[in-house]
Symmetry: D2
Subunit: 339 residues, 4 copies
């Protein structure tokens, strides 16, 4: 951690601050400049709150050198982590996972049918929303438990493991019992009580990036889960909010190499929610594979015009299958395969 | 709602879509253009999901004309709503409320002391965090119930009503019992289960704007609370996320006249979290008052350098008092007073 | 164009506005709703300024249906345009162009040397900055004419066509004489006088997207050039400004399918400036190819640590060659080849 | 400047880099941490390009401590600069300047008439666009020289100094002859050749902030002008681009205290372009005054519905006058007056 102090700082103020810091076990190196004095702190600075130091009126700036995360940090865990969900391995040099399914679960029969289509198209896992975070209280809020049970039936008939979004800790038992991977949605990425709750169970967590969250905050959200004991976190990029109105969000594919550099955890991409437009899904899926993603999560619906939500971004099974076929060849180019 | 269809749309596709829409009780007016056909839907379009219509490959765009909110909408409720919290009235032509207090509650004695300073400086309500949403799992997470009880003691000794942030529905009973206004933080603005929970109780809610949420989404979050029966919502702007690194967030004061035009609910401003820098708090507070805000919520700490969190943005009581004195005169210019 | 008027609009105000619009040759269709009246305008609405209509206090909103661009619009020009630069064809189903070279031109000898390395690695065009847009007036501003002549020498020795950035119309003659493709930089994307100037010459223009410009504004910048007579425009995405600090900008690859849907012009990607980090360049380059880009423009330097600018984002020739080899296979998957 | 190197950096790499830096006259202080080595450079680091150092694969990060601007820096020029434009003084404790006028100049007679209205309402300077930066090549591009001469006539009849936007250096002579303050528009904030050109003349420059430019980049644009010899720069905030669609841009009023802390130059606010909505102009104007702005620039039009551009954001003279009257009292509260 680097602290820059103004030249006008009185000696006793500097001494008081540095005394407090060295009493926390930190070593201090000072550089005296023409306009500023700069202090480098060496040791475990994760115990220090930079904002408290910035409250000192003689401090110009405080810059962290070491990353604030530990369990997710590749520096302390150089090998790739492989996360297992319902028998499927995600990350490292494992096969890419292609997850497909409807935005909202629409009943048992429809769910079994789409699961079969997903499987036949080459998908290896089923997604579906039973509890839906909707902007409007008047929009369909999901089938709830009935939807989860429809997915369980679909898994029984197809063998596909299932992933669904958990919105509230009071449904956690249901998810632990029935679901293979628990999704934390973008809007809840900093719902810290929910993160702590899923950190206490032994199920893999698919952690979506918040719409306006930096990569560091996203890794810190994973750290919340891991700090509670559950180290099975899979990152999922789904676009960030920008000024561009043409797409729903701006898909940031540069996070793929970055997450792999900074952490040891897998990352998959959700091109459906990012773009909000099925016409863009194939191009963004192939791009994600080429950039090194460990998988994709894609909305698939037999009849997007009649879907109960987000039809505009859903692929029909045939398009989904074509996408997987092309993706397979691209994965091969960079030394990977598709499950 | 306006639906634009491509010229290439076959007649039977158009007829099928329009048939489905008119069966929902909507009247349809069509305009045939050179390159597009445009259809205007008249009636209660809140039952329609635009994304489902956009899934139709012959649809170019869908534009909503009427706002998607009802209970918060000034169109259907022209008079200002006055919200009452612990005996203090907020909104309309009532006096501006100035809320002060520490970022984190640091124990009973310190809380009573800062409450006295807030009151003496001219503040009329006490803020303080007992449950803290922190980016890092290793940072201080708040005193919890002990912190809430410290605020209760401060209220007993000073008479100041108290506001604190609720992070999880399982603490709702505690908040209903002890707190005068329940704050929903920026990170939970779209935690819809939490919104529904506070919508079921009879306490005013201070609803902070999410870091990357549009004004419409913010009003829809209020609609979630109101749709459950609790119409006592106060908006609180605390800055949005932009590319500018100098301030923590960019305070968007234009929301003040906009919220007052679109809704009948009060709005207050939090310049401390928005800027993250105490040196900017006074200027932004006076600006907020001049722009018509119904109040301010400001971090105040006796000794910011020793605060347990966010010291860099806290004012000392003396600066807080000066700010209120200046604010009083500005409020007067626009026909308001400070409580 | 759709005009929504408030219910409170007096009949004579509506009649006056509609009279003015129909006198411009537009047909008007009206839909009377419960809370708003909606008017659809049919005909050539490009002559109308929406902001003028919005100035009417009884108007709630004005929405454009037809795109405001004509010459760039695929609707009126369904076939792909192929742009030729120094004998190289860009766009359509032509081979992908891979452009390489240093950020700043550093003298004749160095330029010839890097051009040879670019060619040997598989690149087909040479980039290099002779006039440099630098944030600081104290930073190196480029070699100017001397730099352009160094590129000309490199072209002579290698046969690679050259592209360089024009910052000011008073150097246009020099660029027309010496350069094969004129680059308009991100900071000048809305320097309309410069756009008009390059619109009057007969050289292809590489038009970078502005840091905070929407896709529609970007196409309108191309329209400025085309409206003057020069229809040889190639789009170049180089990242947009977002809140994320890890990368210099956020590369928006979804523009590739969007530009191809909306316009008939080619698009290439600049992963070097977008990310600002050579470690991310390969992944983003392969992603761009997979997403359907017509080419790449990449910074290449023999010794990035000693480059005169932007070393952090430059690849060494060996990495550049590896990238091209991988890209070649990915291009093949989507039915393209690399030149 | 602080350089953080990875622990894996070989000693000879560290020595080579530090040798090169100390040969530039910099002193180097090193701090050896557990995971990183940190080096503090003391001396004139403005000669060093951080991106070149970051190109070194063993460098983790480079952080600048000192601001990169000198002439604009308050550190080296503690007193407020007062800029004079046509006899009007701007900045320091001088009276606030209220500039009014139409978006586009629409002819001599109309200009004289609006100038009289601006003066009568209490404005002290006339604004108007003769050369217009328009997104569409098909939109009205301004009257050019004829517009400038209409403003000159208005100045003759009212005594109001005039400010207008310069888009291209080839019109600079015209502006130097006729105009009292040269405006550089948001889209040209980083048109460095234009900045250098106005830096060579002896006229005050009104420098608008670019839509996506940081405060530091904005100050660096002023530095470009000042480095050429013209130190008469007035900053003008006009909103930044964000995700919020309700307003055209997001007005960032926190720049007022920041610009005053970092530089010695004046700053005025343009609420008309920032919001794009006349209904928001008064609230934002009063807020700007309360926050300490040195002036306002506001669009005023006799008949906004018939204006030639941007009618939606123009005030009628009567509203403009009311705004000035309220602003006068608010200015008084913070110890200022309105001219």
């Amino acid at each position: 951690m680097i602290i820059t102090m103004k030249k006008s700082a009185p000696k006793q103020e500097i001494d008081a601050l540095m005394g407090r810091l060295s009493s926390k076990g930190l070593q201090i190196h000072s550089s005296i400049g023409e306009n500023y004095n700069v202090f480098g702190l060496v040791g475990d600075t994760s115990v220090i709150d930079p904002k408290q130091i910035e409250a000192n009126p003689f401090v110009e700036s405080v810059v962290r050198v070491a990353a604030p995360y530990k369990k997710a940090n590749r520096l302390f865990h150089p090998e790739d982590s492989i996360i297992e969900a319902g028998g499927i391995k995600i990350g490292g040099q494992e096969k890419l996972v292609i997850i497909g399914g409807p935005c909202s679960i629409e009943g048992r029969e429809a769910t079994v049918q789409i699961a079969k289509a997903v499987k036949q198209s080459g998908g290896c896992m089923l997604r579906g929303g039973a509890y839906k975070p909707r902007t409007s209280p008047y929009a369909f809020q999901g089938l709830g438990t009935e939807g989860i049970l429809a997915m369980v039936e679909a898994r029984k008939q197809t063998g596909l493991p299932i992933v669904s979004e958990l919105m509230s800790a009071d449904k956690l038992d249901e998810f632990v019992e029935y679901v293979d991977m628990i999704q934390i949605g973008a809007r809840n990425m900093q719902n810290f009580d929910l993160l702590k709750a899923v950190g206490k169970v032994n199920k893999p967590v698919l952690l979506k990036r918040g719409l306006a969250n930096t990569i560091e905050e996203w890794i810190m959200a994973a750290e919340y889960i891991m700090a509670e004991g559950n180290e099975n976190v899979v990152f999922c990029e789904r676009g960030i909010r920008t000024f561009e109105p043409y797409t729903r969000n701006t898909l940031d594919l540069s996070v793929i190499p970055i997450i792999k550099e900074k952490t040891h955890l897998p990352i998959i991409i959700d091109p459906s929610h990012a773009t909000g437009d099925w016409k863009l899904v194939e191009a963004m899926s192939l791009a994600a594979i080429a950039a090194g993603a460990d998988g994709l999560i894609i909305e698939v619906h037999e009849n997007p015009e009649c879907s109960w939500s987000d039809g505009a971004q859903s692929l029909k099974p045939k398009k989904f299958q074509e996408l997987i076929e092309k993706g397979r060849v691209i994965a091969h180019v960079i030394g990977r395969e598709i499950a």
